[in-house]
């Protein structure tokens, strides 16, 4: 039985993708707490927000690159300016339509990016992430 993680943040403008990804995560029983943001700005707001004096601090963040407005790269730059208390707990993983090697290497230039996967999020990806970071 896999250990449950506290909460997961999905950042993606595509409603269908969010629904599909959330369903996959839920189905695998990784967490009971999934938060969805539809843009980079919204995600930043969410991360800065406080509830009972505490920031949400998601354990795992999935980020899409191609988004209208603030895209994945811009979000990453802003994210790295946040205080440690505001940032995610452990892992920020990119999800993208792109199979482009250049995007992949660019993503790894960011300290906080721990993985790069092309869509759709699959069970094998999730297993891989959990094994690498949470066991």
């Amino acid at each position: 039985m896999m250990k449950k993680i506290k909460n997961v943040l999905l950042i993606d403008d595509s409603e269908s993708d969010n629904f599909y990804h959330a369903r996959k995560i839920r189905k695998m029983g990784i967490t009971d707490n999934i938060h969805i943001c539809y843009s980079g700005e919204e995600a930043l707001q969410y991360l800065k927000s406080e509830l009972d004096g505490k920031h949400p601090q998601p354990t795992l963040i999935f980020l899409d690159i191609n988004m209208p407005g603030m895209n994945g790269w811009e979000f990453l730059e802003a994210y790295e300016q946040l205080t440690v208390a505001q940032q995610g707990e452990i892992v920020l993983t990119m999800l993208s339509n792109s199979i482009d090697e250049r995007d992949k290497s660019r993503a790894h230039e960011f300290r906080s990016v721990k993985g790069y996967y092309s869509k759709p999020l699959s069970e094998s990806y999730l297993k891989n992430i959990l094994e690498t970071h949470f066991s």
């Binding site: 595509s14 269908s16 993708d17 599909y20 339509n97 199979i99 482009d100 090697e101 759709p120």
Partner: protein, 480 residues
């Protein structure tokens, strides 16, 4: 020039020396001639003096006789005058003949004889006693003393004449020598001139012909020059036209490159963006089948199967298109050992090679410079095509050969497969082009389009030759 100088010099020397000789001869002869003239004049003077002396003696005798018989003082005076005259004449005559010993002696003899006679004569004439007493016959003998002297005078004259004749002869001789020398000089001059002309003539002719030749070659040169100028102008025009053409080609190339980039970008963006909705379709097909398994039954299973297959195929096509647009962006050009590349492909294909009993023969392939991943893909696509289109039970036999030209490597990958009809030789390299139904051969029809793009990326060419039913050879070139 050398020849001209030589001929001129010999002639000049000959001419000048001959002339100097002739002039010298003429001058010498002239001096001799003049001398002869003087001598002749002297001889004449001697002759006339001899006659004068002779006549003076006659006068002495005549006046003496006249005085003896008349006793007139006048004759005595004349006699004395004649004696004086004789003295001066004999002195000058003696001087004149002093160079001739014989004549001098004769003259001296004559003078002493005369003086002796004259002494007696004077005594006879001036002494009255003797004049009257002496025997008349002996007186007479002494009175006419001039007669015996005539012989002496004649001797003198004969000798003088002989000398004169000799001198005249000599004078004539020198005159002829002068004339001869003049004639000789003239002849020499003429001969020299003739020789000179004879020798210069061919040179002049040569010069003239050379000049003509020069004129001709000059004209030819002028013509050639004009032609050259013309062809130069033409060449210049051609060059300008070529430069323009090159520039146009360059522009076209640049725009082509730009267009190609745009096309690649378009293919990238299109395939990238097409993937997203397609993924959504496949995602929700999956969810539908999971969530409503009871609805997927009977014919619906077949429909879903078709939809899934179509979605899967479209995903492959799009991903192929995406990869196609990404060709040549994987890295830098580098040195590639093609033997290793082929070995690697053989390793990848180990299973199918063993299953089908495939033989892959290969030359000792060269090391080339290119995009590593793309070059491997090129060989891999061609080898897998060769296997794919050699259906069992035939055992695929693949032969990889190559040869080298100055600028290219020419490769040939031959198989013993189904072959390709000639009308399709060009078509097979088009994107998504397929000659067979999916039922017979799987595939997206992108393999050879990839190959074509990879070969073009390496500035080469790709084409095919085939005999239907016997096999196909894919030829391609890669620029060195």
């Amino acid at each position: 020039m050398k020849r001209i100088r030589k001929v001129g010099l010999t002639n000049f020397i000959l001419l000048v020396s001959s002339l100097i000789f002739a002039i010298f001869l003429i001058g010498f002869s002239f001096i001799k001639n003049t001398e002869s003239v003087e001598e002749i004049a002297q001889s004449w003077e001697i002759k006339s003096n001899i006659r004068k002396v002779s006549s003076t003696i006659s006068r002495i005798e005549s006046y003496g006789l006249a005085y003896r018989f008349t006793g007139k003082e006048k004759y005595k005076q004349e006699l004395l005058n004649a004696e004086k005259e004789y003295d001066s004449l004999i002195i000058s005559l003696q001087e004149l003949v002093s160079h001739n010993a014989l004549q001098s002696k004769r003259l001296n003899d004559l003078d002493s004889e005369l003086q002796k006679n004259l002494k007696i004569y004077r005594e006879i004439i001036f002494n009255k006693t003797i004049r009257d007493s002496i025997h008349a016959s002996s007186i007479n003998e002494s009175l006419y003393f001039s007669a015996p002297l005539q012989t002496n005078f004649e001797e003198l004259l004969i000798t003088a004449n002989e000398i004169l004749e000799r001198r005249i002869d000599r004078y004539t001789l020198w005159k002829f020598i002068i004339l001869g020398a003049l004639g000789f000089a003239t002849i020499i001059v003429f001969i020299s001139l003739y020789n000179l002309i004879q020798k210069i003539k061919p040179l002049i002719e040569e010069l003239l012909s050379t000049q003509e030749q020069l004129q001709t070659s000059n004209n030819n040169l002028k013509n050639t020059l004009t032609e050259l100028e013309k062809s130069n102008a033409e060449k210049e025009r051609e060059i300008k036209a070529k430069i323009v053409a090159i520039e146009e080609t360059k522009k076209l190339n640049e725009s082509l490159i730009a267009k190609n980039q745009q096309l690649d970008h378009f293919a990238y963006v299109a395939s990238h963006d097409l993937q997203e909705p397609l993924r959504t379709v496949s995602n929700y097909l999956e969810i539908f089948q999971e969530d409503f398994p009871e609805r997927v039954e009977g014919d619906a299973v077949m429909y879903f199967d078709f939809i899934n297959k179509a979605v899967e195929r479209m995903r492959k096509l799009i991903s192929g298109l995406l990869s196609f647009s990404r060709l040549g962006t994987s890295g830098e050009m580098q040195k590639i050992n093609l033997n290793k590349t082929v070995d690697k492909i053989k390793q990848d294909f180990t299973v199918v090679i063993e299953d089908r009993g495939i033989t892959i023969e290969s030359d000792d392939l060269p090391k080339i410079v290119g995009y590593r991943i793309e070059i491997k893909q090129l060989f891999q696509n061609l080898i897998s095509n060769a296997i794919k289109f050699t259906p069992p039970p035939k055992k695929p036999h693949i032969k990889i050969t190559y040869e080298e030209t100055e600028n290219y490597y020419n490769f040939h990958i031959a198989d013993n497969g189904v072959g390709i009809p000639e009308k399709d030789f060009a078509k097979i390299f088009d994107m998504f082009s397929r000659l067979h139904s999916l039922k017979d051969y799987e595939g997206q029809g992108i393999g050879l389009a990839f190959c074509k793009k990879i070969v073009e990326l390496h500035l080469g060419n790709i084409w095919v030759s085939s005999t239907l039913g016997e096999g196909t050879t894919v030829h391609f070139t890669l620029k060195k």
